[in-house]
């Protein structure tokens, strides 16, 4: 059976390994439905135990709700266990507010650009 790409896919997750840092570029909206795609992709790369840090590029992420926050904190726990650092990049105002409200920004660093984030690691 040929699996067609779902038309209602509201999120696009691109991941890339830069040294021991995983860079995830998230495009679209992160909610209880689309979060599954994000978790799946992140876990696929995090299986590689060499991955220590995570840079989450959110400049094209238009929405994160509390399900999205839960998924981000879940990945943070993995990075913390490995003694790594997690940096979120390019937060829109409302995305920033929800990450602040939920305490994510107490543990996850922020950077203006992907380049600056990588330079810090």
């Amino acid at each position: 059976m040929i699996r067609r790409r779902k038309e209602d896919e509201r999120v696009h997750v691109a991941a890339e390994l830069v040294g021991n840092t995983l860079v995830i570029r998230l495009q679209g909206e992160l909610d209880m439905h689309t979060v599954e795609e994000f978790k799946h992709e992140a876990e696929r790369y995090l299986m590689d135990k060499r991955v220590k840090n995570l840079v989450l590029v959110l400049s094209k992420t238009s929405l994160i709700d509390s399900s999205g926050v839960g998924a981000i904190l879940g990945r943070y726990r993995t990075i913390k266990e490995r003694g790594g650092t997690m940096i979120a990049v390019g937060l829109r105002p409302v995305v920033k507010r929800i990450l602040k409200l939920s305490g994510v920004l107490n543990v996850v660093e922020t950077a203006e650009s992907e380049r600056r984030a990588l330079a810090r690691l």
Partner: protein, 155 residues
């Protein structure tokens, strides 16, 4: 559900626009609901941030209905959107399990679903100007939320 809604629902006032959505409690429909509500809201001159706030609040209320209202079962979720001159009103209703203790549910870290950290209602409180929940165990839950809008400028 309580007979008299405790919220500031505008009985007698006629909204500028009114939309009613009815859909199955599927995670896929959370995006549909917030996009539809934002489309109604965007008939007014709102900032991107205001629209984002409305979308997130709707996302939380509908996710609550899917996750808590119907849990492992499935049912219908109704969203009533009313656009008034100075306010957007959104009511999300489910016929699910209901909430035993609303005050407990309103406390930030209290939750029966750890994957969302009990954040849902705190997020709605942060992004909307009014939030009232009425619920009866076994009958369902009604979440009323409203956001103040600057009156439309008339040339």
């Amino acid at each position: 559900m309580q007979a008299v809604p405790q919220d500031k629902s505008r009985a007698g006032r006629i909204p500028e626009n009114e939309v009613q959505l009815l859909f199955t409690s599927k995670p896929e429909n959370v995006g549909f609901a917030r996009t539809a509500v934002a489309l109604v809201a965007s008939q007014r001159d709102l900032t991107v941030d205001q629209l984002d706030e409305i979308k997130v609040a709707v996302s939380e209320a509908v996710s609550n209905a899917v996750i808590h209202g119907y849990r492992d079962t499935s049912g219908m979720i109704q969203v009533d959107v009313k656009l008034y001159e100075d306010e957007l009103e959104v009511v999300v209703t489910d016929k699910g399990t209901g909430i035993e203790d609303i005050e407990w549910a309103m406390q930030p870290t209290n939750t029966t679903d750890k994957s969302r950290m009990g954040l849902g209602l705190s997020v709605i409180k942060e992004f909307m100007d009014d939030l009232t929940i009425t619920s009866r165990p076994g009958a369902g839950t009604r979440v009323y939320m409203a956001k103040k809008l600057a009156p439309a400028s008339r040339p």
